[in-house]
Amino acid sequence: MQQQNIWTKLIRVDRRILYLILFLNIAVFLMFPFKMPATITSPARGLYDAVDSLQPNDLVMISSNWSASTMAENQPQLEAIIKHLIRKGARFTLVSNEAQSRDLSKRIAVGVTQSSDNAEYHTYGQKWAHLGFVTDLIAAIRGMGSNLSEAVKQDVEGTPIDQLPVLQGAKSLKDYKMVIDVTPSGTLPYWISYRPPNLIVGYAPTSVMAAEGFTYLDSKQLVGMITGLKGAHEYEQLMGETGLGHKFINAISFSHVLILLFIGLGNLAMIMARRAQGEA
């Protein structure tokens, strides 16, 4: 009987030990933060430039479809984008395809607008509004594309759409300049497929959805994209702000290192165990 040497043990390591190591790794790096600058990627710059070239009072639709589970990625993104829109004096409306996202995104928008220096944004409905929750995104986009007040009827506070100051002079999505999809799920294709043609599309996905985004960036169906927390971090850097993004990035970086380390270790163990078997 071959004795259980360290390598065979390592190959069959209890997965619960791996889980504990990962947890501790993240906890340690959250407790002892240090600074590391980001590389600005071209899709992030694309989105930043597109928002930066907006004129005051241009209308932007933010499609916010995320819920608490992707908060770590989507919240820094949404906050950064709203801050930038306020800085440009643009008007914006939010719409959610997720019931939970309606409350969350409204709460965040209230938080960001209240803490901004621009008093115009302090009153809800003046420069921004939340159009509420739509169950079927395709139907909603097509509907809003032809008639906003008919498709959405009332905003999240129950005000009829045509009585909102922020939407004065806007009849449909056609009167918007841009839509930014902040999302953890596959909502982007719907915006690309069913939006009015004049609307440019920006994308703020979680990292996992970004892979699909490259295809649309390449085909110019997307003007720019910020990828997950990293993208939010880049966007913050472009705006010269410091937000939540900075705090989390190190813990993430080193969890990547940890995983690489263990993949290496696993392979080493496999090779060594094979060699030991060959000798025996």
């Binding site: 990962l22 947890f23 407790m31 992707t70 990625e73 395709i138 990292s207 892979a211 110019k220």
Partner: protein
């Protein structure tokens, strides 16, 4: 012991955070093994989630899309609910087939909608795949390195497409192209894996932050 006073669930806000933390820890316990705490919170979770869905169903769908249009005089909307209820015949042996009429309508509609999806989502990607693969005078500013990348792009695209051919035996050059396609597929999958990792770690970081910062108040 000031920390203890702040930490204990003595205010409504602290109580909320405690509830959240308990939920999180209970679900995390499945990492150790399946246990009564996990089981209880799993059942609570499903119950709460199923209950929650009824709100949007009544308030957003039935009220907004059924009741409101009705009050605005669109009488034909009255038929939407009973028509949908035909689905409930599914439990009846005798009338079960009636539910298939509703299912048929739903299937037909999703099939019909697929045409637009196909055309607006996928066809433009054909156009987007037209790439100059040799730097000729026809494309100003095209660098040799871009052209090489474009060439690789086209080769990868075509080889992976070849892998997805099903209806004839792959032999000779087709076989070799398909194998290359399979390898390229593995590269793409590896890239997606590596690219996704960050998002997943971000979630865990967010949760650990909640436990350490909001609940234990350690950072």
């Amino acid at each position: 012991m000031e920390w203890l006073n702040d930490f204990l669930p003595l205010s409504l806000e602290r109580m909320g955070i405690w509830i959240g933390a308990i939920c999180t820890v209970a679900l995390y316990s499945i990492l150790y093994r399946e246990n009564p705490a996990y089981r209880l919170f799993e059942h609570l979770f499903i119950g709460l989630a199923a209950g929650y869905s009824l709100g949007p169903l009544v308030g957003d769908i039935l009220y907004k899309y059924w009741y409101l249009p009705l009050t605005e005089g669109a009488w034909w909307w009255a038929f939407a609910v009973p028509f949908g209820m035909w689905l409930y015949f599914i439990y009846s042996e005798k009338y079960g087939w009636v539910s298939r009429i509703v299912i048929g309508v739903l299937i037909g509609a999703s099939a019909g909608l697929f045409f637009q999806q196909f055309c607006s989502l996928y066809v433009p990607q054909i156009y987007a795949s037209f790439k100059p693969i040799i730097p000729t005078g026809a494309n100003e500013g095209l660098l040799a390195s871009n052209a090489i990348n474009n060439f690789i792009f086209i080769v990868v695209l075509l080889s992976v497409l070849t892998y997805f051919l099903f209806s004839f035996e792959q032999r000779g050059p087709v076989k070799r192209t398909a194998v290359l396609g399979r390898w390229m597929l593995m590269i793409a999958l590896g890239a997606i894996f590596g690219n996704t990792l960050m998002a997943r770690m971000a979630l865990l970081v967010g949760r650990v932050y909640y436990l350490l910062h909001d609940w234990l108040m350690q950072i």
